[in-house]
């Protein structure tokens, strides 16, 4: 299987403090990879660096055979990598619809088609399309953030902690939609602390103190009870 995303010895941090100490993993086209790890392990730093929000200190990120590390975030989105950031980060005083339209900023030609797709996954967003995003519930904001990330029609979708603060029921709904998105052909990397996502994962990664300490199939991690105990707390 061809690898869509290849991360090699990636290093990044804040100010002069290194966080990523050489992160290496790859994700095959069409799969869902889940990245687990304790708070502060460096998961968000990893996906933010891949998306170009943080500067790459060392190593490289290859997407579809081309090096994307070092490119500006806008260029990375244009090439087909889209991030749904931690903490949702919708535009609170813009309408749901405008939030979604902004998701297609770099690729306007797919806006209409993707809007239909997103409303298909999240009918709730269509009902509320004229509402200000800041007035949505937490779950709806999470749906909007995922929907917005899909608007550029990415080949790789990075989702950072989609389940944070959601009820167990809503969490399952979100995981199911992410699974659907993956079935529809989008490769997904999902950062999670909730092991409930494991059934949807093809690949599982565990990050610890800025490096990957487990990289295997989802089922393998599910069986390894001690790994869960050691790495997921």
């Amino acid at each position: 299987m061809t690898q869509l995303l290849e991360v090699e010895d990636l290093r990044a941090g804040y100010g002069s403090v290194p966080v990523l100490q050489g992160v290496t993993f790859s994700v095959a086209e069409g799969e869902t990879a889940v990245m687990f790890g304790l708070n502060g392990a460096g998961k968000s730093t990893t996906v933010n660096t891949i998306a170009g929000l943080l500067k790459t200190w060392g190593g490289k990120v290859t997407f579809d055979g081309e090096v994307i590390s070092g490119l500006p975030a806008s260029e990375i989105v244009k090439r087909g990598v889209s991030l749904c950031p931690e903490g949702r980060r919708v535009f609170p005083q813009l309408s749901v619809r405008t939030n979604l339209e902004l998701g297609a900023w770099t690729n306007r030609s797919v806006q209409a088609e993707q809007l239909e797709r997103v409303f298909g996954y999240f009918p709730r967003l269509e009902e509320r399309s004229a509402q200000m995003a800041g007035t949505l519930s937490g779950g709806e904001q999470q749906m909007l953030a995922i929907g917005r990330a899909l608007m550029s029609k990415p080949r790789l979708l990075l989702i950072d902690e989609a389940s944070l603060g959601l009820s167990p029921k809503l969490t399952q709904t979100v995981f199911q939609v992410v699974d659907q998105i993956n079935d529809d052909g989008t490769t997904v990397v999902i950062v999670e602390q909730n092991v409930g996502v494991l059934p949807y994962a093809d690949q599982a990664l565990v990050m610890q103190k800025g490096t990957i300490t487990f990289d295997g199939r989802g089922e393998a991690l599910a069986k390894t009870g001690d790994l869960r105990a050691a790495y997921l707390g």
């Binding site: 998306a51 929000l53 500006p72 975030a73 806008s74 990375i76 989105v77 244009k78 889209s82 991030l83 950031p85 980060r89 919708v90 535009f91 609170p92 005083q93 813009l94 405008t98 339209e101 902004l102 998701g103 900023w105 770099t106 917005r148 990330a149 608007m151 550029s152």
Partner: protein, 322 residues
């Protein structure tokens, strides 16, 4: 025939007590609104008070003057060409400010950026002081430029100046244009997006740097137009710092009164404060007991109204809840 005597006071004069302050207030209000518009724009887009806005206006006025009058070695250009160069100069100074002062401090606290703009204002006042042009000159008003009589009409002997009409028309046109820009254009929406969450804006692929440059460029344009319309007789001047020292402070109050993020609010707030000032300054001796009020009543009235409005409506008259 216009005299109405109130008990205990001097006769009420429609001309002195009503029309003069009304026209003066509207004219000054337009000035506050014009400067306030640029302030609102930058507050909307960057979340900062730009203290350099008055000097963006002054630079534009000076550049217009030197080309209009052909100062030194410069060509003597037609007024509207000179004005265009003036506006371009205002935009350039704003862009340079963005690039050299704002962008390097992008991720710092807003208050640091605000102090940065104070620094830019002081620097520009210094630079203007060094420029070789007659500091006490004024720009021609629109009536002179067009070679027509200086007033549109007279109401009860009081002329309504061409220049005041030009200011109000320009203010309305610019306020509507800015509103349409934010409401209906992609770039306008992107500016709002960056101001609400710059990380999210980068996530969707918006270049935050480009958007910042665009919003400062527009602020420079608004400031430039304001400067060219305001540096005219009778009160206008090309003295370095003149706008910052007088108009800008009231323009801030106007923008806050209007709601700081509201473009129509800059208009409403500007007009409101202009009128309050003018009526407070007008000969109020027809009101029993007011004869003794000393100078400073205009500032006092502005202050009282501002505080009252903010107590009742902290977001300003037209500001939105956030």
């Amino acid at each position: 025939m216009h005299e109405l005597v109130l008990a205990g006071g001097t006769p009420f004069s429609v001309q002195l007590n009503l029309l003069t302050p009304l026209f003066d207030g509207i004219a000054n209000g337009a000035a506050y609104g014009l400067l306030g518009l640029g302030l609102v724009l930058l507050y909307k887009s960057n979340g900062i008070f730009n203290f350099a806005q008055g000097e963006f206006a002054m630079i534009a006025a000076i550049v217009t003057y030197v080309f209009d009058s052909g100062t030194g070695v410069l060509p003597n250009l037609p007024f509207f060409v000179a004005a265009l160069l003036g506006v371009v100069a205002g935009v350039l100074v704003a862009l340079i400010t963005e690039r050299l002062v704002i962008r390097p401090m992008f991720n710092r606290a807003k208050v640091i950026l605000v102090v940065g703009t104070v620094g830019v204002a002081l620097l520009l006042i210094g630079v203007e002081g060094l420029l070789p042009y007659p500091k006490t000159e004024q720009l021609p008003d629109i009536g002179t430029v067009l070679g027509v009589r200086p007033y549109v009409a007279k109401v009860d002997q009081i002329p309504i100046a061409d220049q005041d009409v030009a200011k109000i028309v320009m203010l309305v046109v610019l306020a509507i244009a800015a509103y349409v820009f934010f409401r209906y254009t992609r770039t306008g929406t992107a500016i709002l997006a960056v101001s609400q969450d710059s990380t999210a804006a980068r996530v969707v692929g918006i270049s935050v740097e480009r958007i910042s440059a665009i919003s400062w460029g527009i602020a420079g344009l608004l400031g430039g137009v304001a400067g060219i319309l305001l540096a005219v007789p009778p009160q206008g001047t090309l003295t370095p710092g003149a706008f910052t020292g007088s108009t800008l402070i009231v323009a801030f109050a106007a923008a806050v009164l209007g709601g700081m993020t509201s473009l129509p609010g800059a208009f409403v707030g500007g007009m409101g404060l202009g009128l309050i000032e003018a009526f407070a300054n007008a000969d109020a001796a027809f009101v029993p007991g007011l004869r003794s009020v000393a100078n400073g009543q205009a500032e006092l009235a502005v202050f009282v109204v501002l505080i009252l409005v903010l107590l009742v409506r902290p977001r300003g008259l037209l500001g939105q809840e956030s």
